[in-house]
Symmetry: C2
DNA sequence: CATCATATCCAAAGCGCTTTGAAACTGAGT
DNA sequence: ACTCAGTTTCAAAGCGCTTTGGATATGATG
């Protein structure tokens, strides 16, 4: 069923039917009702491609999944972020398109998505330091929003981010206040912007407390459970092992916990742990009492906000850039405690 | 840059340029090279909407995210499945579209996606028992594939699924062989088809061994970490607690593990645990030695296969239905062991 | 040199919608 | 009865592509 057929059934022109359906004022209320009823009855839905061709807008927003060729990883926060964004897209009548691209062709994927007219705007996830894609998108003048930021990019752009630095500064300071001196950081991949910022916060807190940073206590890689386990296991073998560990994600924190268990250490007693908690729906940090002391910020909510900001940008492409910095909350759980008495060891 | 402009630059007709770019034989090799070079140079990419309008195909495949209104959950296996599918879509030149829909409007979402001509086919994830959506899609004659199956649906349809029943039967039998009699099942939501099949396998193994099923040992809900913890914690309070636990996902198994730790029980020694492992990239079951004894089946690979089957279906809509049953492998890790000596307790 | 097959290219129609510019119809005002 | 403003409807153009049915050029053939 298409517009032509529907209009013939109704004995009206395509113009009138189209206008009636799209809420234009120059069609009488009577015919509007009649048209809507018929559309309902015959299950008419305007073809989105034709509509897009005619209007020049696709009402689709694009995401690129960087299905990295080296480490075949899908960030688990991806799901929650996307779910949040999708919800808002739906509210505003947008669909959501994904394209897969390996590391080498990721720029091309964005370019293709937009130049083919497949999308009206794109979301850039997981920005690295000196993220090249930002310049690319800027040059193409695609409406876009970055989830995160990119140190080293000086042109302005829309972004939404958690204040990674301040939250890790605060978490580190919290541990220092509990008497810890040997504090480890199990971070994400160093080239990721968020990882840099978290480390900066961590280092600043150490410095303020006059504690020298120990490279042995700073590890970084893709934030998997196995990685958290391996690094913790390794650090426990050190002559002067950490008494506290900061983990950049709940997933790696679970690995940390496993390593501690295996070593017969009690989390929160022998070793304190603070995790960054993205508040994933399937991996809540406990029920009433949080399992981990954590810096918490809902990535799902970030997805919702990102979607709204992007839609706003699409609406007014030349408005001044918009940014949003979210503060993570520090929730105190049972994974932290005062530094154990050294002599008792 | 569009076809018209490009063809004017080249001094050729749109027809010829289009044909040259799409590999038709009736254009000389010389002009083909010339056209391709120009397209490259000016960064010409055919507008996908226009192309879709003209060809009648959108080269897009649709997924619906059931952003359930009650429990705001995003299944973590979602990410890996989608990544697998996306990879194949990309290979075949398809894009991937997502729509968000709450529980009530999910049928409508599928219908809309297809009837608007936005997609050429759809993927149905997480089928329930007596899944209504299958009939809907069938009736609309949309090409589709189901990830999983739906008991109670008798019309044939394409699906790809793990043999949930046999893998849980095997896992249960494995525990029975180790001497366990009190075996608990921490399952997914009962209305989900996979959960039913897993329970059926579990029950069959018990029956074959002459062990009466105990309703107290069978729990089911959304497979979160918190849920695994809560139910395990609860069952440990029973007069006759389980000596072994089957968990329907790695995530809930992590909760199981936490509950055991808290109770001072050693996994694999005091209590055996077997988990179903979807082989998620961020949540590998250990490195060399698996942490959990598990029934393993890569959901990412399932995504790839599903994509290929769907594309095949789109190509030949009236071919006989295609199905694929994957066998999970039983990997033995350190979470299982012989039943502890009762008297020693 | 006329004829025909083949290779190469093209003009124009059509995909299903929106939107412009105009027409037809109303009722009020003079 | 005639004009005018406002309301309601419409025909046709255009969005950027593919594809049909020719047209033209080329070269081989008799």
């Amino acid at each position: 069923m298409n517009l032509k057929q529907l209009s013939e059934i109704l004995g009206l022109s395509q113009t009138t039917v189209s206008r009636a359906l799209n809420g234009f004022p120059e069609v009488s209320e009577g015919t509007r009702v009649r048209v809507q009823a018929a559309a309902q009855k015959y299950g008419y839905r305007p073809n989105s491609r034709a509509k897009g061709l005619a209007t020049g807008r696709s009402m689709v927003i694009g995401h690129v999944i960087p299905s990295s060729s080296q480490h075949e990883m899908v960030n688990p926060i991806f799901g929650d972020f996307v779910a949040g964004a999708a919800k808002k897209y739906a509210e505003y009548g947008y669909d959501m398109m994904f394209t897969n691209a390996d590391d080498t062709s990721i720029e091309d994927a964005y370019r293709s998505l937009f130049q083919r007219g497949a999308v009206d705007g794109v979301v850039l996830q997981g920005p690295k330091v000196n993220e090249a894609r930002i310049a690319v998108l800027k040059r193409m003048s695609v409406p876009f929003i970055v989830h995160g930021r990119s140190t080293g990019t000086d042109t302005p752009y829309d972004w939404i981010d958690v204040n990674n630095k301040s939250s890790f500064l605060r978490a580190t300071r919290f541990l220092i206040d509990l008497g810890h001196r040997r504090i480890a950081l199990i971070n994400g991949l160093e080239e990721m912007d968020f990882a840099q910022r978290r480390r900066a916060g961590y280092l600043e807190a150490l410095e303020q407390a006059g504690i020298a940073a120990d490279p042995d206590l700073m590890r970084s890689a893709e934030m998997t459970e196995v990685f958290g386990h391996r690094e913790t296991h390794g650090m426990l073998q050190l002559d002067d092992p950490p008494t506290a560990i900061l983990a950049s994600s709940m997933i790696s924190a679970i690995g940390v916990r496993r390593a501690l268990d295996e070593a017969g250490l009690k989390m929160g007693q022998d070793v304190s742990v603070i995790a960054h908690d993205d508040d994933l729906s399937y991996l809540k940090n406990g029920q009433d009492v949080p399992i981990f002391t954590a810096t918490r910020s809902s990535v799902r909510q970030a997805g919702e906000m990102a979607a709204e900001m992007l839609i706003e940008r699409i609406k007014s492409p030349s408005a001044p850039t918009n940014t949003r910095l979210l503060e993570a909350e520090l929730v105190v759980g049972r994974s932290t405690g005062p530094v154990p008495n050294r002599t008792s060891k």
